[in-house]
């Protein structure tokens, strides 16, 4: 039972961390290398909010808004001019990641800060004691996934976004401002990133470089999943479970690399990854 919970919670956490990246990658075909820094922003929002004493339920909204604003600035001033040079766009977002991290260091120092988990202790699930905060991550991931799917499939913005993904020229000729769609998607993606940073903070600690550790695994998962959020959830489940297994039965360090290495191998054998077409 403990193993099943490990699988489920790891999958959930991976999905929370990668969903913002996926949002951006799906619409813009660009992997946002500033994602690590954006996770860190979320971590510091959590830190500040617990200090100030705002209940953490509201905290995740603050985190989202902070990320949304940062994402909007990045898109407008850095990503947009590089729309036709995708590799340069990657580099520029990486550079921005450095800038953001340095700004954080200048404000908060480079030390590790601890954020108290809003939900402490363990729950007993079918006879297994398990960290309650990790379990909470499962409904959180389901919520995020549900909201994204509802947003993309049920709203007008979602349909326009899908239109831009499917055929940008056609969307433009129907009066859809694809530049605006990209702008908003990027901002939402960044917002999801800070929210993810907010959620993972109680699991570890807060330091300016906290996002970097998640970066490559998140990239590889998104690359393997292509465009679909369902494929992303699948990839998180498969690779997350393998990570858990390798960490437990082989070696935790190898477990940390398992996702990246296996995803790279998957792409070498099957360049389209998990996307089925």
């Amino acid at each position: 039972m403990g193993l099943v919970l490990d699988f489920a919670t790891t999958t959930a956490i991976l999905f929370i961390v990668t969903s913002g990246l996926m949002m951006i990658f799906g619409v813009m075909q660009i992997v946002n290398f500033a994602h690590g820094a954006i996770l860190a922003i979320g971590g510091y929002v959590a830190f500040v909010i617990t200090r100030v004493g705002i209940p953490s339920l509201y905290g995740c909204f603050f985190a989202f808004i902070a990320g949304f604003l940062v994402g909007a600035l990045i898109e407008r001033f850095v990503v947009r001019p590089l729309y036709r040079r995708p590799l340069d766009a990657i580099l520029a977002t990486w550079g921005l990641g450095i800038v953001i991290i340095q700004v954080i260091v200048m404000i908060f120092g480079r030390g590790v800060q601890l954020v108290e988990s809003p939900l402490q202790g363990t729950w007993n699930i079918l006879g297994t004691e398990y960290s309650s905060y990790r379990i909470i991550m499962i409904p959180v991931a389901l919520c995020i996934g549900g909201v994204i799917i509802a947003l993309l499939n049920g709203t007008r913005f979602g349909i326009k976004t899908r239109a831009v993904i499917m055929n940008e020229n056609l969307a433009e000729s129907l009066g859809i401002n694809s530049g605006m769609i990209r702008f908003i998607s990027f901002s939402i993606g960044a917002g999801l990133g800070t929210m993810a940073g907010f959620f993972i903070t109680p699991l570890s600690s807060v330091d300016p470089y906290m996002g970097v550790a998640w970066l490559t695994n998140a990239f590889m998962l998104v690359m393997v999943s292509g465009h679909s959020f369902l494929a992303l959830a699948g990839a998180c489940l498969v690779f997350g479970s393998i990570q858990v297994l390798v960490s437990i039965y082989v070696n935790p360090v190898l477990g940390g690399m398992a996702i990246s290495v296996l995803a790279a191998a998957t792409l070498r054998i099957r360049p389209k990854g998990f996307s089925h077409d």
């Binding site: 349909i159 899908r162 020229n169 056609l170 969307a171 433009e172 000729s173 401002n177 530049g179």
Partner: protein
């Protein structure tokens, strides 16, 4: 004197530095319907793409209803009341018929009201709104394309080879729909065609394009119009 709908002046444009259209000028009065005919690869589709803002213009200008749109982005041109049906990939095949029709509407809540006339013109869509557009037959897709243009209540419609590969019944159906649109709303039209009969039926005058230039023109109801066009199109 009626207002000018479209005015293209000395436009030169193409892909990269390959210029497909050279020094092209044309003018369409509001309410007019004009067809451009010519053989394949002569630059007809390029003309529509250029007007729609998809291609940068090396020289010259485009004005739509008095606004200079030479450098306007496509979505802003579309918002000037232009409905455009491209020849290639003109529909979202994964989206439903309803979404395809609805997506460009300014006020989606007016869908039912706008859709009513469509059900008379193309009864086939009345109860197939929730079917993905990709599962429609070739003829139905073209009809959907026309339906989408009409539902926008545009002031100017541009169609790129709408009859390509269609059977005569469907072509007649589309011609009727376009006629109805002109009679009830006086919409201006610019139509790229290979099908001479269809072009003569739905437009007032025609222009012949060859190698990136407009080389001949005439009125569709004059005697011998068909022969005149045929001379240019045959080999």
């Amino acid at each position: 004197m009626k207002a000018t709908a479209l005015e293209v002046e000395n436009m030169t444009c193409g892909y990269g530095n390959a210029m497909i259209l050279r020094d092209l000028s044309m003018k369409i009065i509001s309410g007019e319907s004009v067809s451009v005919l010519g053989k394949n690869g002569m630059g007809k589709s390029t003309l529509l793409k250029a007007i729609m803002g998809f291609l940068p213009k090396a020289r010259g200008s485009v004005r739509l209803f008095g606004f200079d749109t030479t450098r306007t982005r496509p979505h802003n041109i579309a918002r000037h009341g232009i409905a455009y049906a491209a020849q290639e990939q003109p529909l979202f095949t994964d989206l439903t018929v309803r979404n395809n029709l609805e997506i460009a509407l300014k006020h989606p809540e007016t869908f039912d009201q706008l859709f009513r006339p469509i059900t008379h013109l193309f009864p086939v869509f009345a109860n197939r709104l929730d079917q993905p557009a990709g599962t429609l037959s070739g003829g139905e897709q073209k009809m959907l394309l026309v339906a989408r243009c009409l539902m926008l209540r545009p002031s100017f419609i541009m169609l790129d080879e709408i009859t390509e590969g269609l059977q005569p019944l469907v072509i007649d159906n589309i011609a009727e729909a376009l006629k109805w649109e002109r009679e009830s709303h006086g919409t201006t039209m610019l139509i790229i065609e290979q099908n001479i009969q269809f072009a003569l039926k739905v437009t007032d005058r025609f222009q012949i394009m060859s190698k990136g230039a407009l080389v001949d023109s005439g009125c569709c109801d004059e005697d011998g119009a068909s022969e005149k066009i045929l001379r240019h199109l045959s080999v």
